[in-house]
């Protein structure tokens, strides 16, 4: 009875881990796309131009997002690594 319960549980664990790694892999892509957005902004000759202060706020928000996201996922990965080695014992 017990064995039947644990096996799917383990698989879900390693499945989660693989998806977590996928997330970590995607993070730089998201960052690249978000930081490419300024390419679309109008240049200074045109009428409604983006102000530098708004640009600063946008770029640094992306930055903060990536740092916090990266930190969070790296930590969860470490936790899942630790659980993995725990189970192997």
């Amino acid at each position: 009875m017990n064995a039947k319960h644990t096996i799917p549980f383990l698989e879900r664990q390693s499945y989660r881990r693989r998806r977590l790694i996928d997330t970590i892999r995607t993070l730089p892509v998201i960052g690249g796309v978000l930081w490419a957005v300024p390419l679309l902004w109008r240049q200074s000759e045109s009428a409604d131009v983006v102000m530098t202060s708004d640009a600063i706020i946008y770029i640094f928000s992306v930055w903060l997002l990536l740092v916090v996201g990266g930190g969070w996922f790296a930590r969860s990965l470490k936790r899942s690594d630790a659980e993995e080695t725990e189970r192997e014992r």
């Binding site: 790694i21 993070l27 202060s53 740092v67």
Partner: protein
């Protein structure tokens, strides 16, 4: 002028503090207490050498001139770090499993350990880095100048030059002291890394302090600052999209390829896990570093008179508002940025220059190849030290020759674009198995030629190295080759143009040449090892060797990693293989380990070549082939197991044969022992009988004859007694019934006594004894008489058997594997391999029996040393006969 003096004082104290930190870190690491030295935090901070003085001072100037474009320099590396799972993780894993010492080493290793490629990368790295070092020297001297002119003391050009020289000399000294203290097989420098980490904190603190002062002290809060930014001349977003994208790519590429970044990121990495922390912590560091740049620039533009240099707003804003302490902190920040960059860059470049240029040249000038004797470590260290000094001096020279003006400021991006040319080869090498050496060579050459032609040469200004007509019309009137408008596509930004074409053509030629060419087996193996590093984290191909070569390997290893370390290594390996003595079997496993140890000192390509010279070429094992051809993996695995097994059996058989030979020899000796004893007893007995009969039977003997005959009888009786004494001694020792007379005494005293008593009676051929008083300055607690007996025997043997024309005996004392060892090494022809196994047996005498002696001496020595819990062994590979007496550590300890 008073503040200036304080500045100089603060600077000196700061430098002294850095020396102290580095020294303490080295010590802690040496004593094994350095767990905190290997924390992810230190690793993250050490990465901050990316932020040089160019970013510390220059970013503000950059922002004042071109708005937010400066952010690209930080965004690129942030993306690379956030994407650690893609690239950095693999790079670090490869670096650790292959013992990579530099980026040149990595590229040469990947492409079949090609030294040509390593030399090329090294030269290009030096060309790319020298202007950058010059830039750092300039920033330190100019910031000093800014300070002094604020206090009305203008510095002359000569004073600036001497300042730069002083800084350069100091930095070279620091790097030499902490970068080349020893040859570490892992090539890690705790002192340097620690100092760099401290400097990282200082520059972060300095910039944020100035930023906080500007935002809340001068501009009046966040809202007001933002309003001020929008009202300034950089208040509107005006960015060329191509520059934005290209610069982000460029800085990311440079972050991976800069020799100094590679050094801290891959080579100094202690633990792969640190990357996990750095992946988000370093982008956070960069974010904070760039946060206050625009406010400082805007307030500086407002506050200071028009025309003042925006590059030094970080200094001049606090100075203009009378905030001297803050200005000083910011000066230290800039100083830290500059110095840490120069130190690590010099370290990284010197490793490359010494491993890939100096060492191969030096080795090829030595006749006899890799197996001549002599210590080579001092050569490696010396060449590192000279390389460091040369690299820093080159930077200084560039600074002086370029005149230090604005030409230097633009060199930062030029330098980035130069090293970014490594990227296709680097990334291609670790992700694509088909990349070949030819491809790498062609790609790098194309990339660098285009870089130099389109960016480096024009960067000195039109009309200096590139004529104006060439810029306008192309070389020889070929319009499509204009340096800033290839193929007639004009209107591109020159920097974007150069990077676009150089990287594009670099990648394409690398790809095409790789497709066309055919790689050597070694390249294919290395390719598989690098690309599939997670599956095969072992060293690449295996070596095959026979026992006879182990001695040559030992001779070579002693030269590179030092006699003591090499002997320890060989002894450990022999133990691991379950063999007694000092020479291990040259199993592929052992040879790989040896190659990696050597690679830490001289680089992978050189180490590989040196072992190849002795062992005679790599044999590609089935296991390695498996890595190349995955399709037939299963079959291969089976046969590789078979091969491994048969190899193991062959080795066991060889060991058994050895044991058998020894047993046969011993049994023969047992037989001959009896006949020897009877023979040894009979010869004196015969003469005693004969002469006593003469004395008894003849009456007409003169007094002289009587004396002569009876003294012969007496001598022979003495010889008998001596022989019996020896036999008795041996049997007592062997049966373990011996009483040890424990005493304390100095090793020097014992050796003095042993040398004088062993050499009494030696005539004209008396041997010269070379000793080292300092080494021998030790107190011992053991049976001194017995120990002295062993020494006398060994020295006496050397005197008797050494066949050199000018016999010489070296006595060396040292420590190995927690034991005290005394080596006796003479310069004769040594003991042949076949006899080494039996010299410690009873009645064994080497060579023809020209010297008198029963052959019990060494047997007694061995028994004595066993009783004293030590050993005496033959030490192979020393050039002559060499014996090692090993005493347990507590013998020396107990006496203290």
């Amino acid at each position: 002028m008073g503040t200036l003096n304080i500045l100089v004082g603060v600077c000196l104290i700061y430098v002294a503090f850095l020396f102290l930190v580095a020294f303490a870190a080295e010590r802690a690491a040496l004593e094994g207490k350095g767990a905190w030295l290997r924390s992810p935090l230190i690793y993250t901070l050490s990465l901050s050498i990316y932020c040089t003085a160019w970013t510390f001072y220059g970013a503000v100037g950059y922002a004042a001139r071109s708005g937010l474009e400066y952010l690209t320099i930080y965004i690129g590396p942030s993306l690379v770090m956030i994407g650690w799972w893609w690239l950095l993780r693999k790079l670090v894993r490869i670096g650790r499993s292959q013992r990579i010492t530099s980026i040149a080493d990595l590229i040469s290793s990947r492409y079949g350990k090609s030294n040509l490629l390593a030399v090329g990368v090294t030269v290009l790295a030096v060309i790319g880095t020298t202007p950058y070092i010059a830039l750092q020297l300039q920033s330190v001297t100019v910031s000093f100048d800014v300070f002094s002119s604020a206090y009305g003391a203008e510095l002359t050009d000569a004073a600036q030059g001497s300042n730069a020289l002083l800084v350069a000399a100091g930095l070279a000294l620091f790097t030499i002291i902490f970068g080349t203290r020893n040859l570490d097989v892992n090539e890690r420098h705790h002192g340097v890394v620690m100092a760099v980490a401290v400097e990282a904190i200082v520059k972060l603190l300095a910039l944020t302090a100035v930023g906080i002062f500007v935002v809340w002290g001068l501009a009046g809060g966040v809202g007001d600052t933002l309003a001020r930014i929008d009202a300034s001349e950089i208040g509107q977003w005006q960015m060329r999209g191509d520059r934005w994208a290209t610069l982000i790519f460029l800085s990311g590429a440079a972050f991976l390829c800069l020799p100094r970044m590679f050094q801290v990121m891959v080579v100094e990495n202690e633990d792969e896990d640190h990357l996990r922390t750095a992946s988000w912590a370093f982008p956070a560091y960069l974010m904070v570093m760039s946060l206050f740049v625009v406010p400082i620039a805007v307030v500086g533009l407002d506050l200071l008179p028009p025309g003042s240099n925006p590059d030094f707003f970080v200094l001049t804003v606090p100075l203009a508002t009378g905030n001297d302490a803050l200005a000083m902190l910011s000066f230290l920040g800039g100083f830290s940025s500059a110095t840490s960059m120069v130190i690590v860059a010099a370290l990284a470049l010197s490793t490359m220059v010494s491993n890939h240029i100096v060492m191969p040249i030096w080795l090829s000038t030595q006749s006899g190849g890799a197996s001549v004797s002599g210590d080579v470590r001092h050569v490696v260290l010396l060449s590192r030290r000279i390389s460091i000094a040369a690299v820093v001096f080159l930077g200084y020279l560039y600074f002086r020759l370029s005149g230090g003006g604005t030409a230097l400021a633009s060199i930062g991006l030029v330098s980035f674009a130069g090293v970014a040319q490594f990227l296709p080869v680097l990334v291609g090498g670790i992700f694509w198995r088909g990349a070949t050496r030819t491809g790498a060579f062609v790609g790098l050459s194309v990339g660098f030629v285009i870089w130099a032609y389109t960016l480096l040469l024009p960067s000195f200004g039109a009309g200096t190295l590139v004529s104006e007509s060439m810029l306008a019309n192309g070389p020889l009137g070929l319009g499509w080759l204009r340096p800033q408008a290839f193929f007639g596509i004009s209107g591109m930004d020159p920097l974007v143009h150069a990077i676009f074409w150089s990287i594009l053509l670099n990648t394409m030629s690398f790809f095409v040449a790789s497709l066309v060419g055919f790689p050597s087996p070694l390249e294919r193996l290395q390719g598989a090892q690098f690309v599939n590093v997670y599956e095969h984290s072992s060293t690449p191909q295996s070596w095959g060797g026979s026992l006879a070569q182990t001695e040559d390997l030992m001779v070579m290893a002693q030269r590179i990693i030092g006699a003591r370390e090499a002997q320890n290594l060989f002894e450990r390996e022999a133990k691991r293989q379950g063999m007694s003595g000092l020479l291990p079997e040259p199993s592929p496993d052992f040879l790989q380990r040896l190659e990696r140890e050597l690679a830490g000192s001289v680089g992978a390509a050189t180490a590989h070549a040196m072992i190849g010279q002795i062992v005679g070429g790599a044999s590609v094992s089935v296991e390695d082939l498996m890595a190349v051809a995955d399709e037939t993996a299963q079959m291969m695995e089976y046969s590789s197991k078979l091969e491994a097994k048969s190899e193991e059996q062959a080795r066991t058989a060889r060991q058994l044969r050895q044991a058998n030979e020894k047993l046969t020899l011993i049994s023969e000796q047992k037989d001959s022992f009896l006949s020897q004893v009877s023979h040894e007893l009979r010869t004196p007995m015969t003469s005693i009988r004969a002469f006593s009969e003469i004395l008894r039977d003849s009456d007409r003997l003169t007094e002289n004859e009587k004396i002569k005959y009876s003294s012969i009888i007496h001598d022979e009786a003495l010889r008998l007694t001596r022989l019996l004494d020896d036999l008795l001694d041996l049997s007592v020792l062997e049966s373990g019934r011996v009483n040890l007379n424990m005493q304390s005494g100095s090793l020097k005293g014992i050796l003095d006594h042993a040398v004088s008593s062993a050499l009494t009676g030696a005539g004209a051929d008396k041997m010269r004894v070379v000793r080292n008083d300092q080494q021998e300055d030790l107190m011992l607690h053991t049976d001194l008489d017995r120990l002295s007996q062993v020494f006398i025997n060994l020295i006496g043997n050397a005197q008797k058997y050494c066949d050199a024309t000018a016999p010489k005996l070296r006595i060396e004392v040292g420590r190995a594997n927690a034991a005290l060892v005394v080596d006796f090494i003479d310069n004769g022809s040594g003991i042949p391999k076949t006899e080494q196994a039996v010299i410690f047996e009873k009645f064994s005498r080497t060579g023809e029996q020209k010297v008198k002696g029963a052959g019990l001496g060494l047997a007694i020595c061995r028994e004595i040393m066993t009783r004293l819990e030590g050993s005496v062994e033959y030490l192979p590979g020393q050039g002559g006969a060499a014996f090692r007496v090993t005493l347990p550590e507590q013998v020396a300890m107990a006496a203290q």
